[in-house]
């Protein structure tokens, strides 16, 4: 989107947040229901958005119905504030929601819309995290019929999902699900926590911030309310494992930019074919870089 673009005058009469008031009210009502039944995929009437389905329309509808003047919004895509998807969504909100501030700093944001990552910095009770979801139902890999899936969810029947994990261990000696790891919320419903890596799953557990997940194409909203159990499916003797980022010597890799050894890393292949690892969360990485330059500045002074 062109940053200098302004709505034509005859279209300037859009409501705040692009969606009409009825749509926003319906989505808010759905959000309330989703919070009341943690992990339950609450159906809602997903609106057409001025972007293709699959580009975060579910998350955007949640954001637009929650955001208000005075809110500070952060939009990230795979941890980065500067990728196309994040920039477009942020500009769209700036265009349609006058009075809403945007930021790239996790700590300053009151509302964070994210695609495929949870920020490295721990979220607080004052923050809401909105995740964009392509496939809301974890059971879709084992049961094609949605009617039957609903019954399975209702009865808490996830044995076929566990069978899939069993098959993984038989074949590969390890559970091979790298993202969208099925996670049980509040002891009943198992959710597909959107394509966040395994690394982020523990952050859902007893999260201080409210986590809302919106699937635009599939028309579902679900929630992990604050201070709620979120337990990844696993076997008693094969515990859930997150990415460890060990190099050949068994050392934890560090970010090539900021040197962090406690963040989720992206593997980058340079022009010379050599691999480097960078923090996936750009704000976290930049903050660390700024911190590193500051002490030395003080030292000089």
């Amino acid at each position: 989107m062109n940053a200098g673009y302004e709505l034509p005058l005859d279209e300037a009469a859009y409501s705040f947040g692009f969606l009409d008031e009825f749509a926003k009210r319906e989505i808010r009502r759905t959000v309330l229901k989703a919070i009341s039944i943690p992990g339950y995929q609450t159906p809602y009437a997903s609106r057409e958005m001025p972007m293709g389905r699959g580009f975060g329309t579910g998350g955007l509808q949640l954001t637009l119905s929650l955001v208000g003047a005075g809110d500070t919004l952060k939009v990230i895509d795979q941890g980065s504030d500067d990728s196309v998807n994040a920039v477009n969504l942020r500009q769209f909100v700036e265009l349609t929601c006058p009075g809403v501030n945007t930021t790239e700093h996790t700590a300053e944001a009151s509302l964070i819309q994210s695609r495929h990552r949870i920020p490295e910095v721990a979220l607080t009770e004052q923050q809401v995290l909105v995740l964009q979801v392509p496939y809301p139902d974890p059971l879709v890999v084992v049961e094609p019929s949605e009617a039957r899936r609903k019954v399975m969810h209702g009865e808490g029947d996830y044995s076929r999902l566990l069978t899939k994990l069993y098959e993984d261990i038989v074949q590969f000696n390890e559970i091979t699900i790298s993202h969208r790891y099925p996670t049980r919320i509040n002891g009943h419903y198992v959710i597909d926590p959107s394509p966040i890596p395994r690394y982020d799953i523990p952050r859902l557990h007893q999260s201080k911030a409210l986590v809302l997940l919106g699937a635009g194409r599939e028309r579902k909203i679900y929630a992990v309310p604050p201070y709620t159990e979120a337990v990844p499916l696993a076997f008693d003797d094969v515990p859930f494992r997150t990415e460890d980022f060990l190099d050949e010597q068994g050392q934890r890799r560090a970010c090539a930019r900021c040197g962090a050894r406690d963040s989720f890393l992206d593997e980058l292949i340079g022009d010379d074919g050599r691999k480097t690892w960078h923090c996936s969360d750009s704000d976290y990485c930049n903050d660390r870089l700024a911190d590193q330059s500051q002490p030395s500045a003080e030292f000089v002074r």
Binding site: R160, L162, T163, Y166, V170, F235, D236, D237
Partner: protein, 276 residues
Amino acid sequence: MKKILEVRGLAKIHGRGCAHCIDSTGPEMDTNICAHCGSVVATHGVSFDLHEGEILGIMGESGSGKSTVVKTLFFDDAPSAGEALFFHGERQWNLFDLNAAQQRWLRNHRFGMVYQNPHLGLNFNVTAGGNIAERLLMSDLAHYGEIRERARQLLSRTEVLPERMDESPRKFSGGMQQRVQIAKALATRPPLLFLDEVTTGLDLSVQARILDLILEIQQELGTAMIVVTHDLGVIRLLAGRTIVMKYGRVIESGLTDQILEDPQHAYTQRLVASAL
């Protein structure tokens, strides 16, 4: 002997049904389709008791309603009328009064089913071991090592090579698929097992070994079974007591020896005579 299952007046009508359905169907009328409303009376008025460790045979021709009886008891199909009580330990369950979740619990924890077609009982997209694991996971076992070990034991018990447990049952022969199905059904050591035409379509030597296996399991575990078949040989070998069905009604019941040696109903007489 302790009673494990008590079935009274079990009925299943496919269709709207009318006041004349019962009178206008059955062996006397030589049909199970109601002439007035076109409904199919699959079974009507089926009553029997089953005791612990006993094998009951249900015999009859195709369309006699014998599979329907087993399907309703295993909750694959809802009955139109009748009641069934299941006793285990100190508890009893009124099968048709349970809600879906309770029925599923009983199915997973207390019942086992072996279908004629392995496609119904097995998931061909997962390995043989995975099929057994699924059943163990349904009964709330979540220890990988233990599941592996139980699956290996069950498969070797049912004479499937444990080395092949990580292959899809799609690659197995018909007899082996049936063995995997039996292993799966036995995974939770159910007190009650339903066998629906388990040997139909298998060659004679494989049939004999599967029947041997079923008898051994019954002696070892004391599992009560209901065996549905149209094969007199299976009935003779397995069942202590037998009921004979035709057009949805029970026309004869009693000890298997008695029925085979001295059949009373004309249909049973013809059936026994034709098999010899």
